[in-house]
Symmetry: C2
Subunit: 312 residues, 2 copies
């Protein structure tokens, strides 16, 4: 019987789970809503749910996993296996790695969902043939919010789980944010902000995609909102050029699919903000929605004491 | 005859030089203005000046140095011994380590002035008894310009020499900068900017110290300029909280000596900008003006193939 890895990518809305062989082929994937409970029960409930998913996946395939990879959202302390805080799910200082190990009965590799998706992107996606990206890069996933991972001098930085919260960095003209601060990048530069501001200005519902379509059709309100988003994003990117100086910024999430003209506009705006700084390449992410599972695969391989190679 | 290290801390305004024994006792210190020449001659002129200082120091003490530590300002590639760019002094891609080795006739350890002063500060100064600072901290030296070092997850980050150029990060309201960009922190938040803006507004010459004194005496122009500096500095600090999340920000240089009320104002302004972020402690640097020389001592020890211990 061949060996298999269990993969879990736990987001605030959904859990994506999978079973993979040790060649890195993902054989099965399932997705179900992350169960919501009282905050103090959220960690136990999550691990119960992971156990149920595990039994379902292994019963269907008739395999026994050798290890699991568990990537979770929120503030994470990967070194100590702790979920520090999840605003969406509620746990605080939960020893998720040890709890999952007990329930699943196999070694569990544990990490942050975005950091691990970024590691997969940089090791297996856009960075696979690009050593400069694997040394110094920023991965920005621009969707409802903006999630980020910073690779600096060849290491994903953590700062106790607080690194890479660029969605909540101040930008000029930024608006009051749900986090309690004012001026956060997410209030102008996210796909969610573009849709929300367009709705507020015009009464028209839709996603960022519809706002881009409206701009293409000559809508000046849409053009202004997209302009603000681009300026906000490149303001933050320029800040990164002055602090961690990435060689490339890899853009994923819904907004990164707004097309080549969006990337050209970002590049032009970023260029204007820089002088002697190292100007990063702006690169669309290669890995799609499975980047989180592929990150969990890296964790599972680490836990099993081997390097997982993922078939792309 | 005992062994000695030559120490050089080359700033845009002054060169500080010293002679130390291998126990880390700094025996002699001298300071003189960094000579200004045409940019294309600046590297050769610097090394000539270092040679003259070396002869003076060694003639006075009658010793022969075993190695030198050379810490220089600007963009630095310490791995390859290159001064990439100095806005103040003018060189570009100058092989300063090799040039200094040839002129001084001893092995030369080479690094960035601020990175090395920061390393000394975090290993021997404020971080000596503070493990959190030695893991995640930012050191900002606020003088004529603003120079910085970022300690992230226990490592000083480099990004090929481009990391930590926070003086050239954009801030709201920032002015055109000598670097060619517009809005750099240095144009509002440095001691140099405070003095220069006060001179332009009032015709009164002096340093930042005099502007603080004028504010204390009720001068509203001085108050406005200092307010702008504080807001610009905490804007950049808040950006760092969203990217590398330091546990402390250590402030050195002339402006850090503006006194406790300056620190209280910075803390209050920074606090206002943050929400869930980890709020860093703002800490005055313990090492004084000699931090750069102590950093050069670490370099000289490295070049001599031994660990220099510095007497504090």
């Amino acid at each position: 019987m061949s060996e298999h890895f269990l993969l879990f990518d736990v987001g605030g809305t959904d859990i994506k789970a999978g079973l993979a062989n040790t060649n890195g082929d993902i054989l099965q994937v399932l997705r179900e809503p992350t169960r919501k409970t009282a905050p103090e029960e959220s960690a136990a409930e999550l691990v119960t749910q992971l156990g149920e998913i595990s039994r379902r996946l292994t019963a269907e395939s008739g395999t026994t996993p050798v290890s699991a990879g568990l990537a979770v959202c929120g503030l994470v302390d990967p070194e100590n296996g702790i979920g520090i805080f999840s605003a969406n799910l509620g746990w605080r200082d939960a020893p998720l790695q040890a709890m999952a190990r007990e329930t699943l009965g196999v070694p569990v590799g544990f990490g942050h969902d975005v950091a691990m998706a970024a590691r997969a992107e940089l090791e297996l996606g856009s960075g696979a043939k690009d050593a400069a990206l694997r040394r110094n890069a920023v991965v920005m996933v621009i969707g409802t919010g903006i999630a980020n991972a910073l690779m600096v001098d060849g290491r994903l930085i953590s700062a106790g789980g607080y690194a890479g919260e660029l969605g909540h960095a101040q930008v000029p003209g930024g608006l009051p944010c749900a986090c309690g601060a004012t001026g956060c990048l997410e209030t102008l530069g996210s796909a969610g902000a573009i849709a929300k501001r367009y709705l507020a200005a015009t009464g028209k519902r839709g996603g960022a995609r519809e706002v881009f379509a409206a701009r293409a059709a000559g809508d000046q309100v849409a053009a202004g909102i997209i302009h603000d988003a681009i300026e906000a994003l490149t303001f933050t990117m320029a800040q990164l050029c002055s602090s961690v100086a990435p060689e490339g910024i890899v853009l994923g999430g819904g907004l990164a699919q707004a097309g080549p003209s969006f990337f050209a506009e970002l590049r032009e705006s970023l260029h204007r903000r820089l002088s002697f700084h190292r100007e990063p390449r702006l690169i669309p992410a290669h890995l799609g929605a499975d980047a989180g599972l592929q990150g969990a695969m890296i964790l599972a391989g680490d836990a099993a004491g081997r390097s997982a190679r993922i078939a792309l």
